[in-house]
Amino acid sequence: MADRTLPIDGSLDLTPPREGESTWLETLHSWVITVDHKKLGLMYMMLAIFFLLVGGGEVLFIRIQLAVPNNHFISPQVFNRLFTMHGTTMVFLVGMPLVFAWANYMIPLQIGARDMAFPRLNAFSFWLTAFGALFLYFSFLGGAGLYGVGNAPDVTWWAYAPLTARAFSPGNATDYWALALLVTGFGTLGGAINIIATALSMRCKGMTLMRMPLFTWLLVVDSGLLLITITPLTAAQVMLMLDRYLGSHFFDTQAGGQAYLWMHFFWIFGHPEVYVLVFPAFAIASEVIPVFSRKAIFGYPAMVAASVGIAFVSLGVWAHHMFTVGMTSAGNAFFALSTMLVGIPTGIKIFNWVATMWGGKIRFATPMLFCTAFLFQFLTAGLTGIMLSVAPWNWQLHGSYFVIAHFHYILVGAIVFNVFAGIYYWFPKATGRMMNETLGKWHFWLFFIGFHVTFDTMHFLGFEGMPRWIYTYPADRGWDHLNLVVSIGGLIQGVAVLIFAYNLISSLLKGTIAGNDPWDAWTLEWSTASPPPAYNFATDPVVHSRRPLWDVKHPEDPDWKYE
C-alpha cells in the first residue's frame, strides 16, 4: 500500500493571497531584487518572449526584402546587420534564456525543493544575461564608434575570421557582439552550475536520480553540456578581442593567424549548442505527451540513457559544419560517421514518445497539438540532418537555404513549437488561470501552416542553389516564386504569434481559474497551489515513484510496484 504522507494535502498553500497590499513601485522593486526561482524563471521567460518578438520583427524585414528579386526595400548594409542580429538574438537571447526559464521555474517544483541551490547566483546569472542582451542591442546606438561606419554587427552569427578583424570590421559593432556574448556566457555558466547543484543536492525524500522527472533530467544533462561548450566560446571571444585591440594574431590571416582556428572554436561550441537549445523541447515533450496520452512515459531508463548519449555524441560532431573548409578525406569520413551516430539515440527518443502515445487515450488540447506537430517536424529535421551528414552531399547543401530550412525545423519546428506547448501547459500553474483554448487552436493551426509554407519551401530553394546570407538575387535564377511563398508563410506565422501574445495577456487578466491540477497530471508541481507560494511546499514532499501524484490518485495501482 502506498505511503499516504504524499504532498497533496500537506503542501497546499492555505495563507490568504496578499495582492493589493503593495504599491506598484513596491511590486516592481520586489521583482528587481528577487532571488525567488519562480520569479526569476518568469523573468527569463519574459526576456525570451520579448526578444522572440524583436528577432521575429527583424526577420520580417528580411523576408520583405527577399520576397521579390532585385528588391531595394533595405540596403545590403542593413540586411547584413538584420540577419546577424536575428541569428544572435534567437540563439543567445531567446534560446538560452528559455533553457533557464524552464529550469528555474520547474526544477525546484518538480524535485520538491523550496528554491534553487544558489538563489543569489541565480539572480546574478539572470541580470548578466539581461544586461548582456542590452549591451548587444546598444550597438545600434554605439556601434559606429568614432569611425562613422556601420552600427550593429554585420558579420553573421558565426562571425568567421578574418571578417571580424579590424581591417574588415572597423568601428565597435563587432566588439559589442563579442563582449555581449562574453557577458551572457558568464550568466549561462552561473545558471548551469546552479541547475546541476540543485538537482544533485535538493531533491526531496524518496526522489532518487532514477525517479527524477525526465524534464529535470534533460535540463541537468543540458547544463552539463553548457558547462563544456560555453567555455571554448568564451575563450574564442577573448582571443578575438586580443586580436582586435592588443595585437595578437590568433585569427589574423595577414600575419600568419588561422581563420579555421576560429571555426573549430566556434563549432565546438556551436554544434552542442543546438542540442542545448533543443533539450528543453525534449523536456517539455516528455511531460506533455504522457499526461495527454494518460500513460506513463515508455522506457524511462532508455530515455535517460538516450539523453546522455545525445549529449556525449554531440561533443564529437562539430566539424560537420566544416565539410567545405577543406579537411582531409579521413577527417570528412570521421565527422560524417559521428554525425550519423546522433541519429540513433535521437531515434530512440522519437520511438519512445510514440510508444507512450500507443494504447493511450490521447486528448488533443493545445499543448498536445503543439507536441504532436513537434514529433512530425523533429522527425523531418532529423532526416534532413542525416542528409546533411553525408559529406559529399553536404558540399552541395552547406550554406544553402536547405540548411536554413533544416535548422529552422529544429529551432522553430521543434523548440518554438514545444515552448508554446509548455507555455499552454504550465501557464495555469504559474498564473492560476487557464489560457483560452479557442485562441490556442487558432494560434496552433495558423502557426503550423505558416511554418510549413515557409520552411518546407526553403528546402527546395536550397536544392535550386540559393545560398544563405544574400540580400538580393537575380531574376533569372528561378527563385522568385518560391521566395514569395516563403515570405507569405512568414507573415502567417507573424499573425499566429500576435494571436498568442493576445491570448497570453487576455488569459492573464480574465482567464478561467485553473485550480491546482487542471490537466490531471502526475509530477510534484501540480500538488501545490497555482500559482505556487514563495516557499513552494508547506511540508517537504515524500515520493515513492516517478509519478507521485499517480500513486496518490490510484492507491489501488501505484507506480512504485512496477519500478
Binding site: A259, S329, G399, L446, T472, R477, W479, H481
Partner: protein, 348 residues
C-alpha cells in the same frame, strides 16, 4: 454530426493550407531560366554526388514514411473518445526487447549510409589528376573572382572558361582555391559542391564537365557587404572554343591610337592603381584585370550585362549597382567618363 472544436478550427486552417500549396505549385510550374539546381548536374563530382543524394533520399524517405505513418495511426487510433469514460488506459512502462529492436535497426542503417558516404568521399577527394588536367588558381576577393592559368600565363576575372571533358579522354580542370581577404566559397552546383577559399589555407577541387554551356553559381560563404553579388559564371567551352579563347586572352591589351584620350584618363586618374591592362603602364593588382574586358559578357562580377551604358555608369558610380563595392567613384567629368569608357571598349 457535430465536429469537435479543434476540427472546426482545423478545417478553416485547412483551406489556408491548400491555398498556400496551390500558390507554391504555381511557383514550381514556372519555368526557370538558369537555375543552378543540384539535381541537374553536368560534371563528374556533381553527378556522383547526385547519385549518392538519390540513394540517401530513398533511405530517409522510407524512414519518414514508416515513422510518420506509425505516428498518424497512433493519433487516429488512440484519440480519446467523447464517451464519459474516465478510466485510465493500461499503464505500460517499457520493454527491453522493443528498445533493443529500435536501437539495432538504426545502427544497421547508419552502417550502410556511412559506408556509401565514405566511398564517395574518398573517390572524389583522393582522385588522381591526369596529366591532361588544366590547372587554374582561383583567388577570391571582396567581391569578385580572379582566375590564373599558370601554364597558359593568363590572368582573367569573374568569368571562368574551362574545356569540355571527354569521358574517354578526360580533361578535367583542377582548381586551387585561395583568398586575398575574407573567407569565400566557390559554388557552381551543376559542376561540383562548394569548397571554401580561406586565407592561409589553400584548398583544391576538381571538375570534369561533360556538357558544354554556361553554368552559374555564386559565393556561398558570407564575405562582406556585397557577398550577394559575388556571382560565378563558368563557361564550359568545346576544345576549339577554349583554344581560341586562350589564344585571345594571351594577347597584350589592344593599343588603339584613336582612344589615346581615354587611355590617358585611365593612366592618370588612379584607375591603373588597381587595374592591369597588359602591355601598358597599368599594372594594379587590387581590382580585376581589364586587358580583355570586352571579351566578358558581364560586369561587376556577373551582376550586370557588359554594355556601354552599364560600363559608363559603373565607372561613374559603382555604388549605383553594388552598394559597398570596394571600387571608389572617381568623380570623373562627363567627357572623361565618355573617353575612358570608349578606351575600355577597345579592350577586346
Amino acid at each position: 454530426m457535430m465536429l469537435p472544436e479543434w476540427l472546426r478550427v482545423g478545417r478553416i486552417a485547412g483551406f489556408v493550407f491548400l491555398l498556400a500549396m496551390f500558390l507554391s505549385s504555381y511557383a514550381f510550374a514556372e519555368g526557370p531560366q538558369s537555375t543552378p539546381s543540384i539535381f541537374a548536374p553536368t560534371s563528374t563530382p556533381a553527378i556522383d554526388i547526385h547519385h549518392l543524394s538519390l540513394f540517401v533520399l530513398e533511405i530517409t524517405g522510407a524512414i519518414f514514411v514508416v515513422v510518420a505513418s506509425l505516428l498518424t495511426y497512433v493519433i487516429i487510433r488512440f484519440r480519446a473518445g467523447n464517451a464519459e469514460d474516465d478510466r485510465e488506459p493500461a499503464q505500460i512502462y517499457g520493454s527491453n526487447q522493443v528498445e533493443l529492436a529500435w536501437t539495432v535497426i538504426p545502427v544497421l542503417i547508419v552502417v550502410v549510409l556511412f559506408l556509401t558516404t565514405a566511398r564517395v568521399i574518398f573517390a572524389i577527394q583522393d582522385a588522381p589528376m591526369p596529366q591532361a588536367a588544366l590547372d587554374v588558381t582561383v583567388i577570391g576577393h571582396q567581391f569578385w573572382w580572379e582566375y590564373r592559368y599558370p601554364k597558359q600565363g593568363l590572368v582573367v576575372a569573374n568569368e571562368l572558361h574551362v574545356p569540355l571533358s571527354d569521358a574517354k579522354q578526360p580533361t578535367p580542370t583542377h582548381l586551387k582555391l585561395l583568398s586575398a581577404d575574407a573567407d569565400h566559397s566557390f559554388w557552381v552546383p551543376q559542376l561540383m559542391g562548394k569548397i571554401d577559399l580561406i586565407p592561409n589555407h589553400p584548398n583544391e577541387m576538381w571538375i570534369n564537365p561533360l556538357t558544354s554551356g554556361l553554368y552559374v553559381g555564386q559565393c556561398a560563404q558570407f564575405c562582406g557587404v556585397q557577398h550577394a553579388n559575388m556571382l560565378l559564371r563558368v563557361y564550359v567551352d568545346t576544345p576549339e572554343q577554349f583554344a581560341a579563347w586562350v589564344n585571345n586572352q594571351a594577347k597584350p591589351g589592344m593599343q588603339d591610337p584613336s582612344v589615346a584620350e581615354g587611355r590617358r584618363v585611365f593612366e592618370t586618374e588612379a584607375c591603373m592603381n588597381c587595374h592591369t591592362v597588359q602591355g601598358t603602364a597599368a599594372t594594379g593588382r587590387f581590382g580585376p584585370d581589364l586587358t580583355h574586358l570586352m571579351s566578358r559578357d558581364t560586369l561587376a562580377s556577373g551582376e550586370i550585362p557588359n554594355t556601354r551604358d552599364n560600363l559608363r555608369q559603373w565607372i561613374k558610380s559603382p555604388d549605383s549597382f553594388k552598394p559597398g563595392a570596394l571600387m571608389p567613384a572617381m568623380q570623373l567629368s562627363d567627357s572623361q567618363l565618355d573617353q575612358v569608357t570608349t578606351y575600355l571598349e577597345t579592350l577586346k
